[in-house]
Amino acid sequence: MRMTTRGLLAVALVAVTTAFAIAPPARAGDLLLTAAKPDRLYVIDTATRSVRSEFRIPNAGAHITTIVPSPDGKVAYVLVNRMESISGINLKTGREVFRADLSVPGERVKDFCAFTITPDGKELIVYELPTKLLPNEYRVEEPRFAVFRTNAGLKAKSIRAYSAPRRLHLMLMRPSGKSFYAIGVDLYEYDVASGKLLNTRGIQKWDLVAHSQPDLLAFWPVTEPTGVFTSPVISDATAGGITAMKTGLMSLDVVSGALDFADFEDTSALIFSTVLAPDRKFAYGVYSTLTKIDIEHHSLAQRVPLDHTFYSVNIATDGHEIYMGGAMCDVAFYDPQTLQKRANLKLPGCGDQSLASLRVIPAR
């Protein structure tokens, strides 16, 4: 993709500086995907903790949120333009290879962070919130799932659409490619081909003993490296006549379909997003602190303050390092054992990551 000389210089400087300052032990690394205002998509080499590529997303509208990599790791699909467009960026060339502008004249369509891709990489399923723009009033229409073919080019139009519930914030494809999960008021599972609602579980329909209705809104679609999506959950739990606010962890195994929920502490810090370590013994959550959660014992293992707020967390495929982003213009690298900071990588141009996903894909 097009890159300015200044941008290249900045990337080079960061890379050099980083290499001298915080050269990590050599190991097969992952690539990290993050994005920042106004229109930047970054590929970060975790082995060198440096920016490998900086791409400009056309017509991003200074607003970038969810990133969904293609299953082969060659294309990143990014929700841009105030949640009204999905842009597919080739991660080798930086070229925009897919574009779906969801809004059309007379109808504004937003996607609140939720879209997913089939395992064969051929179809994107996008959650659409349409509003009819009539001459002197708006009319909110029913939400829908719209399906786009990823080879449809830069003027992609949906090839089929299905009815969807209101207030979804996340979609996760199952590995079979036959169904996907949608998370919002409840946990729904839909058939990819027919759009049929297969089942509804959990969340507001959860019958949690001695718990209030749970609250969750983690809209970062991270299932790597385990195939398990996790989300912090807040609820009030009553025991012995005493009610306390609890933080728990919801986990959804998109492979097996197993759904679990367990409190791990009386709420003492906010957590926006979490990730499960590959050994499945610990999960890590971020906001203004980094929290280590003991999965086996349902307990708070450790917590450290962070330099600033981070909304997005992820972990190395082999679990050796925690990555944090989603706010301001640096990505932080932490030790999962000690929760000590190993390094910060400042993104060239210092655009705000502003809730962007932080995704891990295999290095190629």
Binding site: R82, M83, P105, G106, R108, K110, F112, L129, T131, L133, P135, N136, E137, Y138, R139, V140, R166, R167, H169, V185, Q213, D215, L217, S288, T289, P305, L306, D307, H308, T309
Partner: protein, 527 residues
């Protein structure tokens, strides 16, 4: 964000900066009429049917409400209005589709931009559905029937799609409630048609020209009193010329230019004592009194209460300054009143000796001695044929100090968004012989802060948040990340504000709670 509507008019750069206060009046003989303006600039989308315009004619609002609507039409739909057309439309709609005084009464605090005001209590459901984003006063300052309230809900979600995802929305079927129960409830609470509006809109309202007696109080600061001469400006507006005195000494001149919307909504722009001021006043239904708040346009939280009464009104006491004196003390006092006779006699009740030192058009100055054994309690004040209870009291000692507001918010400042300060005021009370607490008015105090709790102490909020000035005004620190704080947090703070009032050798303390928080990026005419 274009939504495909035709951009009919070129952008007028001054539209964004324009507001209600004293804009050039659209009253010249060649100015187009209100219906013509609406027809010209609005009917492209809001179709006209027999003199009614779709949507527009289904709504009544305050002048500020109409300004916000026009701002949105500009910002979202690309409508650009010439300045005089903007003003003419606001004036026409506020006059013909405004609110009766009784309908705007509950939400006046929002029109007056009162800092730290307590919002309306319309119940927990409306607090969650509406009041978590904006004041419920903003809701209560509009009138629609259920069908238009329903369209309002569609507008909300169409314009702000994250509404359903926020806390206090995602715990309930927000959209279902917003499209069923809520429009019905709002249509019942705040319907388009009302007897009050019918009566007010059909009634005649007094012109405001003439001489007025004014009293004003700026919390933590000064008391002002004097006169205002109000005249027409020849274009449907008014001019006011102020000659005021400050009880701390000196005179304060000023003038303003105002438009009165809806027959009673005075919006003025001018200066007071050499500083720019804005006026949001309401004329009483009988046209005898103008009251409200004036404020600094650059710091809306700075301002004061304002009352003006026609100088030829029946004799009445408007203010007694100071509002109390201590037994055994002596000093000057000022009575502000209407209907003062030549050579008035002044009485401050038992235990006081009064000697009038000067008489002005609307004020009397006297030297007062309060007997050492004067009983504590309220005193009736009589001047000429005017008398007032509850405006003056004697105390032996101060029993209690209250700090107002009892809970305040200040905001750090920097960049394009100035700090929002918080002004505190210490008021004292004493017990009378019956054991009843009697208010003594504002007192000077020594001001200080301390951490509100252990966590605020740990994070050194007192050091980072800002500082309180000797006059009780809290000045917040700069905005932005502070790398020496936990999480590089802003200079936010959770503080207890302490006022120490000295009563002879004794000091009496009162306190308040102050939150210093982050900047507010969108400041609307009605919060």
């Amino acid at each position: 964000m274009s939504i495909g509507l035709p951009r009919m008019f070129s952008l007028h750069a001054s539209l964004l900066g324009l507001f209600l206060f004293g804009a050039p009046a659209a009253g010249a003989t060649d100015a187009p009429s209100g219906p013509t303006l609406v027809r010209t600039y609005c009917s492209g989308c809001h179709l006209e049917h027999g003199g009614s315009f779709e949507r527009i004619s289904s709504i009544r609002k305050s002048p500020e409400g109409w300004v916000m609507t026009l701002f949105r039409m500009h910002q979202v739909h690309g409508l650009a209005l010439p300045e005089d057309a903007h003003d003419g439309i606001v004036r026409y709609l506020a006059d013909t589709q405004g609110l009766a005084p009784s309908e705007s009464a509950a939400g006046r605090f929002a029109l007056e931009r009162r800092p730290n005001a307590r919002d309306l209590d319309l119940g927990p459901d409306l607090a969650a559905m509406c009041g978590r984003c904006h004041s419920l006063a903003r809701v209560a300052l509009q009138r629609r029937d259920a069908d238009d309230w329903l369209k309002h809900m569609h507008f909300h979600v169409g314009q702000f799609p994250s509404l359903e995802y926020q806390a206090s929305a995602r715990d309930r079927p927000w959209w279902t409630i917003a499209t069923t129960e809520l429009p019905a409830k709002l249509g019942s609470l705040f319907p388009l048609n009302s007897a009050a509006w019918t009566a007010w809109s059909q009634g005649a309202h007094r012109e405001l020209m003439g001489s007025w007696v004014v009293v004003g109080h700026e919390p933590g600061g000064r008391d002002l009193y004097g006169t205002a001469e109000i005249n027409t400006d020849g274009h449907g507006g008014y001019t006011a010329r102020y000659r005021l005195s400050d009880t701390r000494g000196g005179t304060v001149g000023g003038e303003s230019h105002a438009i009165v919307y809806t027959g009673y909504e005075w919006r003025g722009r001018g200066e007071l004592g050499g500083r720019a001021s804005r006026e949001v006043f309401a004329v009483s239904e009988d046209g005898s009194r103008i009251s409200g708040r004036w404020f600094d346009p650059d710091h809306e939280e700075r301002g004061g209460d304002w009352t003006a009464v026609r100088a030829d009104a029946a004799p009445q006491v408007l203010a007694v300054l100071p509002r109390s004196m201590k037994a055994g003390s002596s000093g000057p006092i000022t009575i502000v009143a209407t209907g003062l006779p030549a050579g008035p006699e002044l009485s401050l009740g038992a235990g006081t000796t009064v000697r009038i030192t000067s008489v002005e058009a609307a004020s009397v100055h006297a030297a007062v001695e309060v007997a050492t054994d004067a009983a504590a309690g309220a005193r009736a004040v009589t001047i000429g044929r005017a008398s007032a209870a509850g405006q003056f009291a004697i105390y032996q000692h101060i029993d209690k100090v209250d700090v107002t507001p009892g809970f305040a918010i200040a905001r750090v400042g920097g960049g394009k968004t100035a700090a929002v300060t918080a002004q505190f005021e210490a008021t004292a009370s004493t017990h009378d012989a019956a054991g009843k607490l009697v208010e003594l008015g504002p007192f000077t105090a020594d001001w200080s802060t301390k951490p509100f709790d252990a966590e605020a102490a740990r994070t050194h909020d007192e050091t980072f948040g800002g500082a309180i000035e000797p006059g009780g005004r809290y000045m917040p620190a700069g905005a932005g990340l502070n790398p020496v704080r936990d999480y590089s947090g802003n200079n936010t703070a959770n503080l207890k504000v302490l006022a120490r009032v000295h009563d002879g050798d004794v000091a009496v303390e009162g306190d308040s709670h102050l939150i210093v928080t982050v900047q507010r990026w969108v400041t609307t005419p009605i919060y």
